[in-house]
Every structure is written in structure tokens, then in C-alpha cells.
């Protein structure tokens, strides 16, 4: 009985394995066929016509057909599902003479659902691409239509102008083999590094009057935060810094452990640079002396909105680098109707007196004059591309580019796309656009089909008109000084093969050196192992990409 059962089981297992692999193969191949073919027959007649005009004006075939109502399938970011017949969707439908079909895809399972729909042959006209590796993946799966750069310039001159002047060269991140496949998003926020936040009252309580600027002063302050009872509650319950605080120390030595950075004209991986050994030596000493919060391994955020540093807000540490600049922006005058930073909101709930004492400093300068905390990359890793089938329908492709252009053609269009109709969803107050209740909530805007459903790039010019206070706050507090950016902005060929393992050994090494489980010299062993287990290959590929960029 038992034996035959086993046999039966193994047989079925084998059969099922075969079936699943076969099913997998089939669905892979099926994808792009149906939409492409349909388009082919529809447009073949038109193609003939266009051939003659092609010679005179290469862009003529991209002119949308007058009077035709295009159906446009649209994927984008969403904070909540967009209503059917949403107000703003109707507005654009009328304005552009199109039928927008906005796909509601649950953000929690974005990739899973979108891949499912791709696999079953449903490809939207406007394709939202999330993440650098995803762009490469979609390209490999032949999902994206090429957007010739000169065509973009011709059809969407304002978009092109802003893109190339705001972030020169950024379009190249949407290119594969020199051809443009997607328009990278960028935001003014990327000009500002992560915050450097001090508890001003703690500094005062331990007798430090000048905000620490060098690593030595930083160290002194950290030790005093631990030893001299900065919160004056008579208990030894404070630490200097936690997870994000460590970055300033790495940065003071010139690198960040998980970033690629140029060094002598080459891209190198920060985590294996000899400077990191010095940083780790310092950190392990600090840990031994109780300066670093032992909870640094699990992070400063304890659930809920991820940009809140609970360690800092609850007074466990006196320094943090958590979140972005706007998560720390306090109320700036009575006219300030912009969103108050979430960390500030949290502090206002518990210890409002702390808010005024916060000091936004600069990252500490290390022994060799270097400094830095992480900063966002110039392009955010979100792209807008066009579905492959549009290559066969140049008039529709042109129509989409005209739509892209219209969305950023002037500030009025930009703000309409972002936050709806003036007077109904927002209004001007003291030269600032203020969103009206309930549209202060981004989810309400998503429902009516505004931000981020209809937003493309955010030109600096428009964004500073839109959020003047925020940008003033960042500039006043020098958030534009001392950031270190990730410089490798492309997925590497062998990344999938090695990265997980490499990150794992790095994580283990760093943590165990800091908490003293391993001696400092273990770092050298780690570096050797890192190069041996695939790091060398990654470095080679990273530099190949880097060279191709400068060409």
C-alpha cells in the first residue's frame, strides 16, 4: 500500500512539473501578439498613405487623425482607486477628445497584478514603470515602444526643454542601447539630502552651544547624550544615535556602505572601501560605550508611516537622519497650509516643546574633510513609457506625446493635472495654491483622477511655485549641502545572481563588527570574500555602464 502510494505520488509530481513548465512557456510567448496584430491591420492602409508624406516631413505620420476619439489605456501611480467617470478624467477626455481608461491597480501588489495583465496580453498605452530594473525587464519582454528623442522634442517641446534643462542628461536613464524607451521622472526633492536633526534642548542640557560640525565634535556630543542625562529625568535611558544616524559617520569617511560612487574616474562600491574600516572601528567603539541604540538593527521606525523615526520622537536618541526634509518641516507662519512634517506632527502630540528646539545641522566633516548623508538620485526610478503596439499606430503614439506635452505645457495645466480645478479643489491664498478640504488628502485627489494619476514630470519651475514654503525650508537649512548620491543608476546584468548574497554577507559583517562579535580586521576578510563572491563581476559591469554613459 505504502509503496504504491509513493510511486503514485512521484508520478503525479513529475506530470505536474511538466504541465506547469509547459504552461509557463506558453504564456510567455503569447504576450505581444494579439495587440500588435490588431494594430497592424488597422493601420496598414494609412501607412501607404504616409509613405509619400514621410519624405517631406518625417513626423507627419505621428500627427493624430483629426476628429478621431482615441481610447487610451493609462497606468500610473495611485493613492486610491480612481472613480469610473471621475471628474478630472472627464475633463481631460473632453479637452483631448479621448477616452481615458485608468487602470485601478492595487499598489500593495502592483508588480504582481501588472505582470499578470501583461502576461495575458493586456498592455496599456501609457505604461508606468517602477524601478530601474523594471525598465530593463519590460524592454527585454518587448513591451515598450521606442520614443525617438527628436520626435519627443518635436511633439513635446516644453516637456523636453524642462527635462533637459532641469536635469541635464537625465533622459539617458530612460535609454537602452542609445534608444529612448521611457521618460524618467524627477523631482525637486532630489536636490535635497536626508535631514540631519539634533535635539537642540539636549545639546543645551549637556552644555554644547555650537551645533557639531566635525566628526570629533559629533562624537563629543554623542558621548554626552549618553553620559550626561540630556533629558534630565535622572535615568540613564538615552542613546546618541540609531540606524539612520550611522550614515553621517560613514559619510564623514567619504562613502556610504550600500552606494556606488566614483573614485579616481571609476565606479566603486562604498561598502568595501578601506575608509569604511575606519568608520566601523569608530562605530564599534561607540557601541561598546553604549552610544548606539542597540535597536539600530531593527530600525528607527516601529510601524505605521515609514518616515517617522520613533526612536527620535520618543526621546530615545538625540540625533537622526530619518525621512526626508519635508517630514521635518514645522509650521511656517499662519498662512502655512502645506502638510506639516509627519515627525513634527508626532512630536506635537507628545512633546510639543521639543519642536522649537530642533536644530537642522550639516553632516559632520570627517578627518579628510569629507561629509555626507544619503541623497535621492536625480531621477527617481519611476518612468513613463508607451506600449509596444503603438509603434504600429504612430498617430496614436503622437497623440500620447501631445498629451504628455499638454500636461506640462504651462503651470495652469500642471496644477490642474495635479490638484484639480481652481476654485473647486484648490484656490490661491497669499500666492500659494492651497488645496481645499477634503482634497488636502491625496487619496481624494486620486479618486477624482488628479495627482498622481495624471502627473508626469515635475519641472523645478512649477514645483517651486506649487510648494514654495517647503523649498524655502530646505534651502534655509542647507539641505542642499553634503548629500551623497547613488551613482549607479542601472540594473547590472549579474545583479540578480549575486546581490542578495553579497548584501547578506555585508549586513552580517557590518552588524557583527559594530556590536563587537567580530574584530575590526574581519573587514579585510569580508572585502576579499565580497570580491570573490561576485563583487568583482558587478564592479566590472558597473564600470561598463559608467563608461557607456560618458560616451
Amino acid at each position: 500500500m505504502f509503496k504504491s502510494c509513493k510511486k503514485w505520488l512521484s508520478m503525479t509530481l513529475i506530470i505536474c512539473l511538466l504541465v506547469t513548465t509547459l504552461a509557463g512557456c506558453k504564456s510567455n510567448k503569447e504576450k505581444p501578439v494579439d495587440s500588435g496584430e490588431k494594430a497592424n491591420t488597422e493601420t496598414s492602409e494609412k501607412k501607404e498613405e504616409n509613405k509619400e508624406t514621410d519624405k517631406k516631413d518625417p513626423f507627419a505620420k505621428y500627427q493624430p487623425i483629426e476628429g478621431k476619439t482615441y481610447d487610451i489605456a493609462w497606468t500610473s501611480g495611485q493613492l486610491a482607486p480612481t472613480d469610473e467617470n471621475a471628474e478630472m478624467t472627464q475633463y481631460w477626455n473632453e479637452k483631448w477628445n479621448v477616452n481615458l481608461d485608468i487602470w485601478n491597480i492595487d499598489s500593495g501588489q502592483w508588480h504582481e497584478i501588472i505582470n499578470l495583465r501583461f502576461a495575458t496580453g493586456e498592455i496599456p498605452d501609457k505604461v508606468r514603470i517602477i524601478g530601474f530594473p523594471t525598465l530593463k525587464k519590460y524592454y527585454d519582454q518587448d513591451l515598450l515602444a521606442e520614443i525617438p528623442e527628436d520626435l519627443l522634442q518635436h511633439m513635446a517641446p516644453t516637456l523636453y526643454k524642462y527635462h533637459t534643462t532641469d536635469v541635464p542628461g537625465a533622459l539617458s536613464y530612460g535609454k537602452i542601447d542609445g534608444k529612448l524607451y521611457a521618460i524618467p521622472h524627477y523631482s525637486i526633492s532630489a536636490n535635497y539630502r536626508r535631514p540631519v536633526v539634533w535635539r537642540g534642548d539636549w545639546l543645551e542640557n549637556v552644555g554644547i552651544t555650537k551645533t557639531p560640525e566635525t566628526l570629533d565634535e559629533f562624537e563629543e556630543a554623542m558621548y554626552k547624550f549618553v553620559k550626561e542625562d540630556p533629558d534630565k529625568n535622572g535615568k540613564n535611558d538615552t542613546y546618541g544615535l540609531s540606524t539612520t544616524g550611522l550614515n553621517a559617520v560613514y559619510g564623514a569617511y567619504g562613502f556610504l556602505p550600500y552606494n556606488w560612487k566614483t573614485r579616481d574616474g571609476k565606479l566603486v562600491y562604498g561598502g568595501v572601501q578601506p575608509e569604511m574600516k575606519q568608520a566601523l572601528e569608530k562605530l564599534s567603539k561607540w557601541y561598546k560605550d553604549g552610544v548606539i541604540d542597540p535597536e539600530f538593527i531593527t530600525g528607527e521606525n516601529k510601524g505605521g508611516y515609514s518616515h517617522i523615526s520613533h526612536s527620535f520622537v520618543t526621546g530615545q536618541v538625540g540625533y537622526t537622519s530619518h525621512g526626508f526634509y519635508y517630514h521635518w518641516r514645522p509650521q511656517m507662519g499662519e498662512d502655512d497650509k502645506d502638510v506639516i512634517g509627519h515627525n513634527i506632527q508626532e512630536l506635537l502630540k507628545t512633546t510639543p516643546e521639543v519642536v522649537d528646539s530642533l536644530i537642522f545641522g550639516l553632516p559632520p566633516v570627517g578627518p579628510e574633510g569629507k561629509r555626507g548623508v544619503p541623497q535621492e538620485t536625480i531621477v527617481s526610478g519611476i518612468f513613463d513609457g508607451l506600449g509596444k503596439h503603438l509603434e504600429e499606430e504612430p498617430d496614436k503614439l503622437g497623440k500620447l506625446l501631445l498629451i504628455f506635452e499638454d500636461l506640462v505645457a504651462n503651470f495652469d495645466n500642471f496644477i490642474t493635472a495635479r490638484q484639480g480645478m481652481e476654485g473647486k479643489h484648490w484656490e490661491w491664498q497669499n500666492n500659494m495654491p492651497v488645496r481645499l478640504d477634503p482634497y488636502t488628502d491625496g487619496k481624494e485627489l486620486s479618486k477624482i483622477g488628479a495627482m498622481p494619476v495624471m502627473t508626469l514630470i515635475s519641472p523645478y519651475d512649477y514645483e517651486s511655485k506649487l510648494l514654495p514654503l517647503r523649498i524655502k525650508f530646505a534651502n534655509d537649512n542647507q539641505f542642499d549641502v553634503g548629500g551623497i548620491r547613488e551613482e549607479l543608476l542601472a540594473p547590472l546584468e549579474s545583479q540578480g545572481k549575486y546581490k542578495t548574497e553579497l548584501d547578506k554577507i555585508q549586513e552580517e559583517t557590518y552588524v557583527s563588527i559594530i556590536i563587537g562579535d567580530k574584530p575590526i580586521d574581519y573587514f579585510d576578510t569580508f572585502v576579499e570574500e565580497w570580491y570573490k563572491s561576485g563583487g568583482e563581476q558587478l564592479e566590472k559591469e558597473a564600470n561598463e555602464w559608467y563608461q557607456s554613459l560618458s560616451k
Binding site: T12, C16, V19, T20, A23, G24, S27, G77, Q78, L79, A80, P81, T82, D83, E84, W103, N104, D106, S107, G108, Q109, W110, I113, L116, A119, T120, I130, G131, H185, S187, S189, K302, G304, Y305, S306, H307, H310, V313, T314, F324, Y326, H327, V339, G341, H342, K349, T350, S380, G381, I382, T440, D441, G442, K443, L445, M451, P452, T455, S458
Partner: protein
């Protein structure tokens, strides 16, 4: 006499010290166990009853002020309301249909004289271990035109193999004499099933119904895939969206917009979870008495 009493008492005390320790330890661990199970739930209850300004960074059980505003807001959220209605409809349609399908499949399969019984049982058990996969399932549902329809959530799981087997095993454990005597009295198969078998199968029917109801109440993945209109989503998808707001994975998808969304405060999230959980929790006490009897018959019998 008095000596005897003394000895007896001594013996008694000697005997009961270890047992006392054992009992008290037992109780202690039981209480700790109950507390660890209950605490997170009570924490959520108290959080949902707090005002939005309360601080929940530290552990606490009693809210500072009792405040129902979170519930008011949750219950006035249009997606919550439509989600709730959709889920109730889903459970309402699914449970009777699934039970009907299960009983009608399980009963013939429980009969030894049913031709090719082994094959058909194996055929159904097979689906327990292997499925066609996500993409083919989606293609089938789309091909049948069931997208955006409640039937996409009910029909694919109409005969849950595991539950069907359990019901079948229960039917098999019933004495065949019952059926025979009914047949002698002139009853046909349907009458036997409905008048004889079903009334004595109440425990298993109740148990499996509850499982089905809970399963459909909690299901979200199928709805997220097959339902694309926001107004037709079930409750759990809405719940998930609200609870995941502001977490890292959601942020990554909307970079640059993250601060624009006002993230639902924790008390709203807690109230949402309560609204989604309590209705189904209320069903349990009513079916409790059938439960133990029902689950006893679990194993797959030839």
C-alpha cells in the same frame, strides 16, 4: 485514631505540594498564553476607541478618552461601505452554493457502489495539490467574461476539495442500515439524502459552512485580481489598502508623492480592522457546539 488522622493529613500535604505547584504553573502558563493571544487584539480595540491625537508609541490598554470618531469615519468611508456590502453578498451567495455543491458531490462519493469512485475521488483530490497557476486561471475567468463580476470570486472555488472530503468521510461513517431501511420504506436517493442523511450531519454541515464563510470573508487576492472596479471590491481589499498606507512598499510606488497622501492615523487603521473582523467573529459562538464533533473526522479514508 488521632494518629491515623495525622498520618493521613501529612500524606495529603506531602502529596499536594507538587501537584499544587503543577496546578499553579499550569494556570500561570495558561494565563500568560491567553494574555499573549488577547493582548494584541485588546490593544487594537483600545486604539480604535482612542482619539487621533493619542500617542500609542508605548504599550497601553485603556484609552485616554473613549472616542468613537474613528468608527464614524470608517463607517462613512464609501469604499468601506461598498466593500462591506460586497463581502456580505459574497458570503451570502457563496455559502449556500458551496454547501450544495459539496453535499451533492460528497454523498455519491461516499457510496461504495458508486462506479469509479476511486477515480473520481482522486480526480478531485488532485486539485487540492495542484492548480493551473495564476495566469491560466486569469485567462479562463477573462475568457468566460467574469471579470468585475461576483461570480469570479465564487465559481472557481465552488467545490473546495478538502472540505468535500471531510463531508464525504462523515457520510461514510454513518451506518448504511439507515439508508437501507429508508429504501425499504420506498425512499429514493434524494429523499434519503435530504430527509435522513442531512439531519444527522448537522455538525459537519455547520463546521464546513463556517469554514467556507470565514474563507470567503477573509479572501482578498482573487478580488484584487478579478475585480477592477473600485466599487465592486470586497472589504478585505479596502482594509488592506488602508492598513498598508504609508508603509515602505507603498512609498516606493509613488515616490515624490508620499507626503501628499494624508496617511490614515493609527486609530482609523485599528477601527478598520475591527469593523472587518468583528462580524465574522460573532458567528463563532453559534457554531461552537458543533465544532469539536465536526473536526474529529479529518482523515482521508479509502
Amino acid at each position: 485514631m488521632s494518629k491515623d488522622m495525622k498520618i493521613k493529613r501529612k500524606n495529603k500535604i506531602k502529596h499536594s505540594i507538587p501537584s499544587l505547584i503543577f496546578d499553579s504553573m499550569n494556570y500561570l502558563f495558561m494565563i500568560i498564553f491567553c494574555v499573549t493571544c488577547l493582548y494584541p487584539f485588546l490593544f487594537l480595540v483600545s486604539m480604535s476607541l482612542s482619539a487621533g491625537t493619542s500617542n500609542f508609541a508605548s504599550l497601553r490598554l485603556i484609552p485616554e478618552v473613549i472616542d468613537f470618531s474613528a468608527y464614524r469615519r470608517v463607517l462613512s468611508n464609501e469604499f468601506m461601505v461598498s466593500g462591506f456590502i460586497n463581502t456580505v453578498i459574497r458570503v451570502g451567495i457563496a455559502v449556500p452554493l458551496v454547501m450544495l455543491a459539496i453535499v451533492f458531490t460528497a454523498y455519491p462519493l461516499s457510496k461504495k457502489y458508486f462506479p469509479h469512485r476511486g477515480f473520481w475521488t482522486g480526480f478531485i483530490v488532485f486539485t487540492m495539490f495542484f492548480s493551473g497557476g495564476l495566469i491560466p486561471s486569469y485567462l479562463v475567468i477573462r475568457g468566460l467574461g467574469l471579470l468585475d463580476s461576483i461570480w469570479a470570486l465564487i465559481l472557481p472555488g465552488l467545490i473546495p476539495a478538502y472540505n468535500m472530503i471531510i463531508v464525504r468521510n462523515y457520510f461514510m461513517s454513518l451506518s448504511p442500515d439507515l439508508e437501507e431501511s429508508a429504501r425499504i420504506d420506498g425512499a429514493n436517493d434524494f429523499t434519503i439524502l435530504i430527509r435522513i442523511i442531512l439531519p444527522i450531519s448537522a455538525p459537519i454541515i455547520a463546521t464546513v459552512s463556517l469554514w467556507t464563510a470565514v474563507g470567503h470573508w477573509n479572501a482578498w487576492f482573487d478580488s484584487m485580481i478579478y475585480i477592477q472596479k473600485a466599487s465592486k471590491q470586497v472589504l478585505q481589499v479596502v482594509l488592506r489598502r488602508i492598513v498598508l498606507e504609508g508603509t515602505q512598499e507603498m512609498m516606493d510606488l509613488n515616490t515624490g508623492m508620499d507626503d501628499m497622501a494624508s496617511i490614515s492615523p493609527d486609530n482609523i487603521k485599528a477601527a478598520t480592522i475591527m469593523v472587518a473582523t468583528i462580524p465574522i467573529l460573532l458567528v463563532y459562538p453559534f457554531v461552537q457546539k458543533y465544532f469539536v464533533k465536526g473536526i474529529m473526522v479529518g482523515s482521508l479514508k479509502g
